[in-house]
Symmetry: C2
Subunit: 264 residues, 2 copies
C-alpha cells in the first residue's frame, strides 16, 4: 500500500489494514486472515467505526466475567497479534489472565512468531506454543483442537477475539464462559458465545480493560451478577437494530461515504 | 483452507474465497485484493448472497448501455480474473466488447498472468498488457493511470467490475458511461458510476449477459432510452433499504446464520 496521508478520512482503517498485510508478509497471519480482516472492515464500517452503545454493555459484562474467573485465558490468533498485541498484554495484566496462542491454521513457526510478537509487547509467558498445546478440545478435528493444558483447556472463562464458530461452540459445550469479540452480529460465534462484543478488537480490548479497572475489587457475587444480567441475544438484536437504523439514515441522507480502495 | 464438504451451507462462498486465495498464491491477485474480497463477502452476506431486485434493474440497464455503445470495454483486475474469467469472455462475446487488464497494483508479470487466465477462458485478445497500456487517464497518478489507447482510453462505455473510486470518477470526467459492479452501495465507486450493480460479480456478469441476449437487436434509441430511464441514486437507495429491511427482519427472527470461518 502506498503512503497514507495524515488527514486521510480512513487513515485509522488503512493503518490497521497495513498491520495485517505486514503480518502476512512476516508469515504469522494466514492469507485467509486477510479475507477475515476485510469482512471485519465492512462490519466495522456498518457500525460507524466506533463502539456502538450495546457493545459497551457487553464490554462491561466481559470485564466482570474475566475478573470473576478462577482461570481466565485470552486466546490470540494471527490477526489479533498483528492488530493489538499491547492491548492483549495490558488486559491480561489487569484481569490476571493467561495468554495463549490459538490458530486456525496452526504451524510451529507461526506459533513461535506470535509468541515473539506478544513477548515484544510485554507478555511474560505465552501458552499454546509447540509441545505446550498438548490437550485437545473434544469434537474438533485436526490441529484446531490442540490447546494448552494449563490454558484454554483448564480455563473457566476464555476471551476469544476473532474466533470461528466451531471452536466457540466446542468451548461452550465444555462448560466454559466464552467472551467473543466479533464484528459480525449474525455469525455463529456471535450466537454461540456467552458474551459477544460487536466491536473492533482494537477498541474492544482497551474498553474491557478500562471497565476491569473500574470493577476491580467488587465482591465476586456482584461481578457474577453483572454477568448473569447480561442477555447476549437481546444485545445482538440491539446491535442489528443499530446497524439497520444507520443504513436507513444513510440511504435517506444519500451520504457519499468513502470506503473503497482498489482491489486490483 | 481445508476441503469443503459438499453440503456445507456456505460452500459457494468458501469456494469463491479459495479461488481468490489461489490467485494470490499464483501471484496475480494482490494481498489487498484478499481484503477487498473479504469486504465483498460481508456485503454479499448482507444482501442475502443473491441478486437483490434493484440489482436486476441495474443489470438490465448495463446490458442496454453495453449494447448501445460504439466501443464497449470490460476492465479486468486480479479478483475478477480469479472469480469469473469465463463470464467476462462470454459477456464480451455477446455485447461485442473488448477486454482490458486494468490493475491497481500494476506489474508486467501480473498483467501477463491475467492475460493468460483470460485467454485460457477463451479470450481472443486482451488489451492493456505491457506496451499496450500507453495512454493515460488524466488526473490519476502513477501506474494506475495507464490504459490501452484502443481500449478504455477510446471507449464510450466501460464496465468496471470491482473498481476503485478515484478511477471511476476520472473515467466519468472523461465523459464515459461507467458501469460498476460493487457490493458496497455506499462506496465512492457506487456513487460515481453511471450505472452501479450492487451484486456479486459472479452473478452480475452472467445476469448482464442474459439481459444482453434478450435486448440484442433492439433499435439503438430504445437501448439508450433504457439507459436514460435508469436512476442510479434511486437504485442505490433501494438497495440500502433492502439491506436495512433484511437486517431488521433478521434481528427480529433471531436467525442464526452461518458466516464465520476462522481467521486464525
Amino acid at each position: 500500500m502506498e503512503w497514507i496521508p495524515p488527514n486521510h478520512p480512513r487513515r485509522t482503517s488503512l493503518l490497521m489494514r497495513e498491520k495485517v498485510v505486514e503480518g502476512v508478509r512476516e508469515g504469522y497471519v494466514a492469507l485467509q486472515g486477510l479475507i477475515a480482516h476485510g469482512r471485519g472492515e465492512c462490519f466495522d464500517y456498518l457500525i460507524g467505526e466506533e463502539t456502538p452503545p450495546p457493545a459497551l454493555e457487553a464490554e462491561r459484562a466481559a470485564a466482570a466475567a474475566l475478573l470473576s474467573a478462577q482461570l481466565p485465558v485470552i486466546s490470540v490468533n494471527g490477526n489479533v497479534a498483528a492488530l493489538a498485541p499491547e492491548a492483549v498484554v495490558e488486559l491480561a495484566r489487569i484481569v490476571g489472565a493467561r495468554i495463549e496462542v490459538n490458530l486456525f491454521y496452526r504451524t510451529p513457526e507461526r506459533e513461535r512468531q506470535i509468541e515473539a510478537v506478544l513477548k515484544r509487547a510485554g507478555a511474560a509467558e505465552v501458552l499454546g506454543v509447540g509441545e505446550d498445546a498438548a490437550c485437545t478440545i473434544p469434537e474438533l478435528f485436526s490441529e484446531r483442537r490442540r490447546v494448552s493444558c494449563r490454558g484454554i483447556y483448564a480455563a473457566d472463562v476464555v476471551l476469544v477475539p476473532l474466533e470461528d464458530g466451531d471452536r466457540t461452540e466446542a468451548l461452550r459445550r465444555m462448560g466454559k464462559t466464552v467472551v467473543a469479540v466479533d464484528l459480525n452480529p449474525l455469525s455463529r460465534t456471535s450466537r454461540a458465545a456467552s458474551i459477544t462484543i460487536v466491536d473492533n478488537v482494537v477498541r474492544a480490548l482497551p474498553n474491557i480493560a478500562k471497565f476491569a479497572a473500574e470493577l476491580k475489587g467488587l465482591p465476586r457475587e456482584e461481578l457474577l451478577s453483572i454477568v448473569k444480567n447480561f442477555d447476549n441475544d437481546a444485545n445482538l438484536r440491539k446491535v442489528l437494530e443499530h446497524i439497520a437504523r444507520r443504513l436507513a439514515e444513510l440511504s435517506q441522507r444519500g451520504v457519499a461515504l468513502q470506503f473503497d480502495v482498489g482491489s486490483g
